[in-house]
């Protein structure tokens, strides 16, 4: 699923965002080429050996191939986040007579101001997401049988991961937010719901309903001065609001406001789950507390939700620009007729629901089956992600994971 959606990505920049591609291509194009060369090929080249080559190459080379796939994935995240960060906080460029971004300093382009923060935040998010999935599956099988050895190991490892990574993630998120305040203040204003400037310290709005017409947050529940404390580390620091930003440069506040709160809320829920598991573990009841296991199942898919909410926050918060402050989204479009774009969008939505829906169904069915065999040489069904058709199984009609 990753391969095929990746191919789509590399072509849609051109099909739907051709003006953006022409203008920003000289700067971000080479970064994406590096992603293909240093990451995609590495993943794809060794994936076949990882999935089907264990018997042919032996355990140590198989381990090497697996490590190469993992390394390729990390390289992929690095390059694509560099590209996205450059679109958020462009650096190291000039603009030539054709209106193209012209590379001046590659070091400054790759390591643009928001890149290190975004990279750390996203990689930690990926680890948290997988920890929650593994924890949820472990919890499910512990509910059925708390003596299940592999399920215990899954659950224990996942909970350790949460305990260690969630606090780091909250810290990384805080740094990322401060970096955003410095480079994209309008985004932070939208995240915080600060329509008005606060010269004597800004409140933290916990909840409320953004009212774009009246430019205020209705029914706001707020804690005085806390926003200044978080963002400026000073109780009384002044913070500007969206009243200082021209209307045509404002991001859509309501979407950013809500998606940010979803992400933060889930982040603290993860922290809570980790803390709960730690308390139970210290009393030796990690595998006994059925409500903990149920909570882990409920949190199983929440990593994906948090990641999506975070991306919505940062991408919608960048609006109305594709390259922040420099190139408007409305000026980036391909000269494709609206009906063609609408048709392709609808078809993609339909196909993705169908294809990824089927994939999700198969994955859930696999997770629902008893936890996989510890010995890879057993013939009762593979544990893997993409594939080859097994011809001879012990039971030729067996469907793995069913």
């Amino acid at each position: 699923m990753g391969v095929v959606s990746g191919i789509v990505m590399s072509y849609q920049f051109g099909t739907n965002w051709s003006v953006f591609s022409d203008k920003a291509g000289p700067v971000i194009g080479p970064l994406m080429a590096y992603e293909v060369l240093s990451a995609f090929f590495l993943e794809a080249g060794f994936l076949g050996i990882m999935l089907f080559g264990r018997e042919r190459v032996g355990d140590s080379l198989h381990m090497f191939a697996t490590a190469m796939v993992a390394f390729g994935t990390l390289m992929s995240a690095t390059w694509i986040l560099s590209v996205n960060s450059w679109m958020q906080t462009p650096a190291g460029y000039s603009i030539n007579e054709l209106g193209q971004f012209y590379p001046e300093d590659w070091w400054a382009i790759v390591f643009n101001p928001s890149f290190p923060y975004r990279l750390v935040h996203m990689v930690l998010a990926a680890y948290l997401t997988v920890a929650l999935v593994v924890g949820g599956v472990g919890g499910l099988h512990l509910l059925r049988n708390r003596e299940d050895g592999p399920a215990r190991r899954m659950f224990s490892m996942a909970m350790w991961m949460l305990v260690v990574v969630t606090p780091l993630q909250i810290l990384a998120g805080d740094f990322h937010g401060i970096n955003t305040l410095e480079h994209q203040p309008a985004k932070v204003m939208a995240m915080e719901g600060h329509y008005d400037s606060h010269p004597h310290g800004a409140p933290l709005i916990l909840f409320g309903i953004p009212n774009p017409q009246e430019k205020r947050i209705d029914y706001a529940i707020e804690i005085p001065n806390l926003s200044s404390l978080i963002l400026k580390h000073d109780w009384n620091a002044p913070l500007d609001g969206l009243d200082t930003i021209p209307d045509e440069d404002e991001p859509p506040v309501a979407i950013v406001f809500w998606s940010f709160r979803v992400m933060i809320g889930l982040g603290f829920a993860m922290l809570g789950l980790g803390a709960w598991s730690l308390l139970r573990r210290m009393r030796g009841r990690l595998y006994e507390d059925r409500w903990l296991h149920r909570a882990a199942i409920a949190m199983g898919p929440m990593g994906f939700v948090a990641v999506l909410a975070g991306w919505i926050t940062t991408e919608v918060g960048r609006q109305p620009f594709t390259v922040y402050g420099l190139l408007r989204t409305s000026d980036s479009l391909a000269p494709v007729a609206a009906p063609a774009v609408a048709a392709s969008l609808i078809v993609f939505i339909g196909v993705y629901f169908f294809v990824f829906g089927a994939g999700t169904f198969y994955l859930l069915r696999m997770m629902n089956a008893a936890v996989g065999t510890p010995d890879p040489d057993l013939h009762d069904g593979p544990i893997r992600t993409a594939g080859i058709t097994p011809i001879m199984q012990t039971d030729p009609d067996a469907i793995p994971g069913k």
Binding site: M1, V3, V4, G6, I7, Y11, F13, G14, T15, S18, V19, S21, D22, K23, G25, P26, G29, P30, M32, A33, Y34, E35, V36, L37, S38, F40, F41, L42, A44, G45, L47, G48, I49, F52, G53, N96, L98, Q100, Y102, P103, W106, A334, P335, V336, A340, S344, V351, V355, A358, G359, Y362, D377, T385, A386, G387, I388, T389, P390, I391, P400
Partner: protein, 333 residues
Amino acid sequence: MFELSFIWAGIIAFAVLTYVILDGFDLGAGILFPLAEGEREKAMMMNSIAPIWDGNETWLVLGGGGLFAVFPLAYAVIMPALYMPIILMLLALIFRGVAFEYRWRTARWKPVWDVAFFGGSIVAAFMQGIALGALVQGIEVADRAYAGGWWDWLSVFSLLTGVAVIVGYALLGSTWIILKTEGPLQRRMQNHAWYLGAATLFFIGIVSILTPFQDPVYFQRWLNLPGSILSVLMPGAVIAAAWALFTGLNAGKDAQPFLASLTIFVLCFIGIGISFYPNIVPPGLTIKEAAAPDESLWFALVGTLVLVPMILVYTAYAYWVFRGKIDPEEGYH
């Protein structure tokens, strides 16, 4: 004269050619999939490409990503011009790609994913052929953007190249399966390859004869000296490769038909290159005009010269690991 953009045009052409011959044979295996008799043959055909199709398709990503990186203007013009064929190709590749995994996750839906595999393969091939034909016919550019209509890509010529690519990929696929299998499946593929080879030559002939009439520049190039020498040499080389294909098939050779088919594809690709040069998007956008600034070309070139040889080495290694005939008894362990 040293011109960085020409080096890059060569690299992109290499990436696209590598894509065409590598994904060509695995798409071809998908196109021939309905001809498999029984689950066992289906599994053999799929297993022969399962470990490598992913790497093969990555060359398509490099073709697109590389074009974006070093010829952003060409990328920005070609993609909207070929909007519909490109989108349909992408959708087809999605169905085909997931079929590898999904078809054996389910008994009830297996026929659905079999159709997805075959349909995805044939539609992707058809759209690639249409895109090629439309590109040969030329793309209207004004003011650094595509200036044509939404159905410009559709013509008798582009439909013809679409069918030609399906037939050509099927030839590559059949000769690949000859290389990778034994027994009845191999024998039937030898038979198919014979007809597919003849059909491929027929389409190459038709497209070659029609191409000079798509643009006066092509006509000038192929029918005046020194180009007319090539007009004799290129068909000669294709005939030699075809001879190697058919004698290899008749003699029951394993590798010769596949290598001969690859050679035919390489020759056709060179022919297209001769027509296009020095344009990257016919009829009027040159390689030099479409290139990104030299700073971008240099930056990308350094890594490419280091990484592409490494990619070729480990890709070759991956093929080496999975060398030899498919063992029909081999399952997944």
